[in-house]
């Protein structure tokens, strides 16, 4: 019974993990601009990896393996966002064009390349009128 | 046991020197002293090792107490021990010279640690009895030479270094590929064990191909025709003390490896391997010496001569007779001393006259006659003039060739000798005899060169004369080495005798 449950759990985890990895891949293929692709990669990819690590933890069940698998999940959750942030920053710094369907961009023009910093908006968001949506 | 530890200390000494000079990087005087002491300690240890080898026969060190072929064996025969001593001599000479040549900038560019690392690699290559371990020492040597190549930092150096590095990287990987094949065929890496396993390999063509690949790898290191491109592109560019070590030692490690490989490991198809080697030897000699004839800069001339003389060493190996191998060994020993010295002398000459370019210098005959004497000895030794060391080497090789009727290689050797005279006299006539084009005062007296630069030159020249005049003991050692080389069974027994 336990075994069946474990197997079931495993099957779900494996399929979901691999599935999300695939989704991440399809995402970076299909989505139209770098920033959107990063959504796919960071979220689905991280989840895919994490789920498979959990599957390993459950399947092996030994303390040190579980500990390492959980550590792996922790590492992933910790590092992926940093990576995404840096790529996003790179996108802006380079001026890579965004998808024309973008509705708003508060960051545009906020990078001061000579000082190598990202400025805060001139007005706070609360008081800002959202720029009119360009798409739809 | 004592021999084994001596062999180990041949490796440990330069390693510790490298480490210690690194740690002492912030204290220049201490660093220089450590470096020099290290070089002479290595010399002492290697001489002791040679004495033990000559007295007791081959020294076999099973490192880690793991019996061959499972651990790494250091197997030191006459050849290995002699080469180690010569390496230590060259190292000591060039480091001493370096004290006079290098300034703070070079010292800060890690001249001392890199030099000792180079010696680690060279000595390791001479001692090891393991193919992969040989690769490792080759790499140690190579990476140190990369660094030393750039110490000083002229444009020509950087350019030379690029070519040197690129082509040596190719050689490195070819070597590794050959190791892969040999390991795949024999299942082992220990020289003795490979030698024992080779006859059992049924796929002869493949074995020969692997051996050929190995030959190519070692041949590149040794700068044989037609794989020598890196040498003339680079050897004239670095510091003089560096190029002297390179000139003396590095290619000779390649020759040493060729000798090891084609006396011990691959004697299964001499009709291919040794015939190929013979052709390579002849073409190497001739192309090298012609290359030298086309040059007008001292170190370029000398660099091309390295190539040409590599041909002689390979020739003895290719003849594969006792006399031939004696000739190779003798030539190796003689050439390292002589060629390193010639580079050093070129350095002093350039310092006194302002250039390495023959057209722009002269007048040393009058201003520095003793430098003339010091140049004459290695230069004419290089050309094989009697009774200097090179004569015996050439004599033995020519005789070996004539004895077995290899006429054309003997002819090539002799013609090469003649053209060597041509180049050496070119340097002599231009740098020494000819008045300095900028006037008599442009050639400085010898006293203006630091003693640290002159002492090693004098010592090496003395060595050349001694080998020439009292050749017999050196011949005996070479003969012993050749006998061992031609008796792989003893090597195998010495290494694998205690196999578990």
């Amino acid at each position: 019974m336990t075994e069946l449950l474990v197997d079931l759990l495993l099957i779900v985890l494996i399929l979901a993990g691999a599935g999300f990895a695939l989704v991440a891949a399809i995402g970076i293929w299909r989505l139209p601009d770098s920033l959107m692709r990063m959504h796919a990669s960071s979220k689905a990819g991280t989840l895919g990896g994490s789920l498979l690590l959990l599957a390993v933890a459950i399947w092996v069940g030994e303390l040190d393996v579980v500990a390492r698998a959980l550590a792996g999940v922790g590492f992933l959750l910790f590092t992926t966002p940093i990576a995404s942030h840096l790529i996003a920053r790179a996108t802006y710094l380079l001026g890579v064009p965004r998808w024309e369907g973008q509705v708003r961009d508060d960051l545009e023009g906020r990078y001061d390349l000579s000082a190598r910093v990202c400025r805060a908006p001139a007005r706070t968001v609360e008081s800002a009128t959202p720029s009119p949506a360009k798409a739809d | 046991m004592i021999g084994g530890w001596l062999a180990a200390f041949v490796l440990i000494a330069p390693m510790v020197s490298a480490g210690a000079t690194t740690l002492a990087h912030a204290t220049p005087r201490l660093q220089a002293r450590l470096s020099l002491v290290g070089a002479f300690v290595l010399l002492a240890v290697s001489v002791a090792l040679l004495v033990v080898v000559l007295r007791d026969g081959m020294v076999v060190l099973q490192s880690g107490n793991w019996a061959a072929p499972f651990g790494i064996t250091f197997a030191v025969d006459n050849l290995g021990a002699v080469m180690t001593v010569i390496a230590a001599i060259t190292g000591a000479a060039c480091l001493t010279f370096g004290l006079g040549e290098t300034g703070e900038a070079e010292r800060r560019a890690w001249f001392h640690p890199l030099s000792h690392v180079l010696l680690v690699g060279v000595c390791g290559a001479f001692l090891t009895g393991d193919l992969f371990n040989l690769y490792v020492w080759f790499e140690v040597m190579l990476i140190a030479s990369f660094g030393l190549m750039t110490v000083g930092g002229t444009k020509a150096q950087i350019d030379g270094a690029v070519k040197y590095v690129a082509l040596n990287l190719v050689a490195t990987l070819i070597f590794l590929l050959a190791i892969a094949l040999i390991y795949g065929l024999t299942g082992t890496l220990n020289f003795a064990d490979i030698a024992r396993s080779v006859p059992a390999v049924s796929n002869v063509g493949l074995l020969t191909a692997a051996a050929t690949l190995l030959m190519a790898a070692f041949g590149m290191k040794a700068a044989v025709f037609p794989l020598f491109f890196w040498l003339p592109a680079a050897y004239h560019t670095p510091l003089v003390s560096v190029s002297a070590v390179f000139a003396g030692l590095l290619t000779k490690v390649g020759v040493y490896a060729l000798i090891r490989a084609f006396t011990l490991l691959f004697t299964h198809d001499p009709e291919w391997t040794h015939t190929l080697l013979l052709w390579v030897a002849g073409l190497t000699m001739v192309t090298g010496v012609l290359g030298a004839a086309a040059q007008s800069e001292m170190r370029r001339i000398l660099s091309w001569h390295i190539i040409s003389q590599i041909g002689y060493m390979v020739m003895g190996l290719a003849l594969a007779t006792p006399l031939g191998l004696i000739g190779s060994v003798f030539y190796l020993v003689h050439h390292i001393i002589v060629k390193a010295n010639l580079f050093l002398i070129a350095g002093v000459a350039a310092r006194l006259t302002g250039s390495m370019e023959l057209k722009r210098i002269g007048g040393l005959y009058r201003s520095a006659p003793w430098l003339g004497v010091l140049f004459f000895i290695p230069a004419f030794s290089l050309a094989g003039f009697p009774p200097l060391s090179g004569f015996w080497a050439k004599l033995v090789l020519v005789r070996a060739a004539l004895e077995i009727g290899s006429w054309w290689i003997a002819a090539a050797a002799l013609v090469t000798g003649l053209l060597t005279i041509y180049s050496m006299t070119k340097i002599w006539a231009e740098a020494f005899w000819k008045p300095h084009p900028a006037g008599e005062a442009a050639a400085r007296p010898l006293a203006e060169a630091p003693a640290a630069m002159l002492a090693p030159i004098a010592a090496l020249a003395a060595g050349t004369v001694v080998i020439g005049l009292f050749a017999q003991p050196f011949y005996v050692v070479a003969e012993g080495a050749a006998q061992q080389l031609l008796d792989p069974a003893s090597y195998i027994a010495a290494v694998l005798g205690g196999a578990r």
Binding site: I14, S41, G48, G49, V56, R68, A71, I87, L94, P97 | -
Partner: protein
């Protein structure tokens, strides 16, 4: 392990393989530096997934260590690339007439 799990793992392999292929395609296609970096980042994540699948399909826990090291270290290459891009961007920015974006990584 039951046959169903084994089959599941096989399916997972197929999916991971597809992910690899697509990731490589994006890597090649670019078109801009960040796209390539994203693709490489994604491929590294897929490798972690593959390593986990290796553990599951072979039973060798040692492969987990590979996944673990990758999870911890792979973002470093992204960081390095991002810094590279930053440098390129800064240099482009200071040019009077910046070259077309396509040549930024040239």
């Amino acid at each position: 392990m039951s046959g169903v799990v084994t089959f599941t793992i096989w399916i997972a392999w197929v999916m991971i393989s597809a992910a690899f292929a697509i990731g490589l395609a994006r890597l090649v296609k670019g078109p801009h530096l960040p796209d390539r970096i994203v693709a490489l980042d994604m491929l590294a994540l897929t490798c972690i997934a593959a390593a986990c699948l290796m553990v599951l399909s072979s039973g060798v826990a040692a492969y987990l260590d590979f996944a673990l090291v990758m999870a911890l270290v792979s973002f470093l290459s992204t960081v390095a690339f991002a810094r590279y891009v930053e440098w390129v961007a800064l240099r482009r920015a200071r040019q009077a007439k910046p070259p077309p974006l396509e040549q930024a990584d040239d």
